[in-house]
Subunit: 237 residues, 4 copies
DNA sequence: GATGAATGAGATTTCATTCAT
DNA sequence: AATGAATGAAATCTCATTCAT
């Protein structure tokens, strides 16, 4: 079972209960599920995460139900469509991303950003393929950025103030780096489980302040605006 | 029509006629297609490239046929299966990649590698989503790496000799960078057509030689072995 | 509804549960189908038997589904392929053949073999075309011979001991006669429902012991070996 | 090349030119084909006979055209449909059947009928599967009986007068025997090339006059009327 | 007249979703 | 509430036949 599914009680309002930005949403109270129903929910999410990671999102819902040991009807009682199930998984991974971001933000030595890149990498490497595939198919992805990106400017500013990251790097650059790391993890993990770490090192090297004699010191292209970053989506399929 | 489909006469043996490694294969002569058949072939490839780029590889072949203005039977006469059609598109894009690599290799000032990263980026930006999606579904992808990677060590060595790239970077690192750029292009082009250029700049910055006071100067993680790099595949779906 | 589909509960392991040779296989218990599912299964087999008998095996599965009053999906849930459906029909007819063989074997007056020829004829005449067509397309056919033929030598020996069948007739000769009767039934039933019975009479006459003055008393050609008989198949189409 | 395709010039009116019953039909004159066209016609028939014998009638017309070394257009210029091609093959085999019948009729010792059974068997064994498969799909089959059956009563009467065949056997019984032999040839030839000869021996034994003490001496079932025999068709598929 | 490419209806099979048990 | 069977639209692929070259 993925660690990010292990212990939490996650009713279907997970996205609404987002702890960082919309605590008020907690007021929208779903009646709690019966214990067996909640258990089925967990099983389905766990199974879906495994099946989708192994077979891709084209895996059939029947296989998910079978892996969860429940019937199709139960699956569709818990999640009104395949897409809803995917969205829920995205939301759950986002929870872990937010945890990582919160932890990283607690660092005061300017290493929080680098820490973020590595730890989100670790998380994705533990469930290869999940995030990007899910992201690709989920409208929840869009919201995910919105929740998560709030942490980036803070981490970035701290790193820049400590002289660890060059000052002309922007939040949207960091988002691009995160996407790029995601992609590398998904493509290389099977062949070389730790290759992504080297990619992260090189990526971070590219973000370091440059010395005067450094080649091509200046970035000539403009960064994505945040409005653009919000419109970014993984390939539809 | 994509530029990479524009002018060439591409019999189905395009992969075999690879100019770099197997010139002898040219002896296997497919009789040239009748003019109308060749035209339909081109139309189908063009249509497939558009449809797959817009709708993803899950788009039905019927839609491809309709977009090409031909019947289903014609499509299946030219390409015996959907996969064969995809493979052909992969092969065609590879041709352009090889062209770029050859041109870049002709540079003697050590900028060939940077040139390669930018121009392959341009090519992919012109047909967003194509390469990575195609790659993912095609066994031709595996061969594609093999053909293409042959150029990397040469370009890399030249760049390193000219002091433009740090000496501890390996061919497999460059392959990772190419994958990462592909991913960024696919995700950002719709929202911000040139954002990928900035990513390339940052990526190249990460490959530059480091000065003594540079933070985290050394790469602690080992690069992919070439054997591993060959096993890398885009996510299955 | 064909008589051979009437009353039995036939899980998909019908072939395995063969009562003659592998009683132990009954231990492999398929959980019984839900009542509606079982009903649909029966309906599908009935419909398939009718449609295939009327239109030949080239009839589409869609027509079978329509005749059964169920959707395509249901058909494919019960039988994972058209071939599986055909195999099941073959298996079912085999059950009836085995019943007939068993009953015939119970006779002690040497008439069992003749009885077998007539009753298997009756069964086939009731569902003309079914067996031979099914046989032709089914690997189950091969197994069918193996199960069924076990009864022939016993019946034959008894008939020979009672002086009803000439002693130089072999088991493989009887198999040939059965095939020949099948063919006659399939070709004549529509035009003359009982014509096959006369053919059976003539065939049996050919198997009777010959008197000394009988013309061409001896058989000069050698019978099929049993190994050859096992390789016999109805025409592939 | 099948012997029955070897030397004859057979314009598509072969059926009409039937030498036995309707010589007047020869007055309907098709303009003779150009020599190359006639050659293509022969090639197509030869190829069709081989391809259909090997792969069954489901083999595609394209394969026939390819085997004949001509284009599809040529095939369809010579034969307006696949069915017409099949009908033509049936008609051609009938020619050989008629030859055999004519030769057999020349015998004056009462062995003509037995001779017929053996020689038509030889012919079919040389092209296993052809006749029955073709027959099955061809309306020409019906006509074939009409042409061929004219010889049977004569042969039969002669055999009965010589005491070689029991007097209660009718022409339609002989037709049934012929069908039965056809079926046995098709099913056994691959496994045992000469097994059909034994079947013929047994079949003939069944037609011999019976001695008083013979078991089940009388035939209790009535023969097919000739009207019924004319309606007999091989299974549609 | 010959060619073989194009056609498009139809075949088998899959799967997200609904619904009877 | 849970089950898993039923649904049927859509996907890929085939092939007899037509038609442009």
């Amino acid at each position: 079972m993925p660690s990010w599914l292990s212990s939490r009680q996650v009713p279907s309002s997970a996205m609404n209960r987002s702890d960082v930005t919309t605590p008020a949403a907690a007021l929208v109270v779903d009646r709690p599920l019966r214990r067996d129903a909640a258990q089925n929910r967990e099983r389905l999410l766990t199974a879906a995460s495994q099946v989708f990671a192994e077979r891709g999102l084209d895996a059939g819902v029947e296989e998910v139900a079978r892996a969860a040991g429940v019937g199709m009807g139960t699956l569709y009682r818990r999640f009104p469509s395949k897409q809803a199930l995917i969205d829920e998984l995205v939301g759950l991974m986002l929870q872990d991303f937010l945890d990582i971001a919160r932890t990283a933000s607690a660092r005061t030595d300017g290493t929080g950003l680098e820490n973020l890149l590595v730890h989100t990498g670790q998380l994705q490497a533990a469930h290869p393929g999940c995030l990007r595939r899910l992201w690709a198919q989920s409208d929840a992805g869009r919201e995910a950025i919105e929740h998560f990106r709030g942490h980036i400017p803070i981490l970035l500013r701290s790193a820049q103030e400590h002289g660890r990251i060059r000052p002309d790097v922007t939040t949207s650059d960091i988002l691009m780096m995160l996407w790029s790391i995601s992609a590398i993890i998904d493509t290389t993990t099977a062949a070389a489980p730790n290759a992504w770490r080297r990619h992260v090192e090189l990526v971070i090297a590219g973000l370091r302040p440059v010395t005067p004699d450094h080649l091509a010191a200046e970035l000539t292209e403009r960064p994505l605006t945040m409005a653009q970053a919000l419109k970014v989506t993984a390939p539809s399929r």
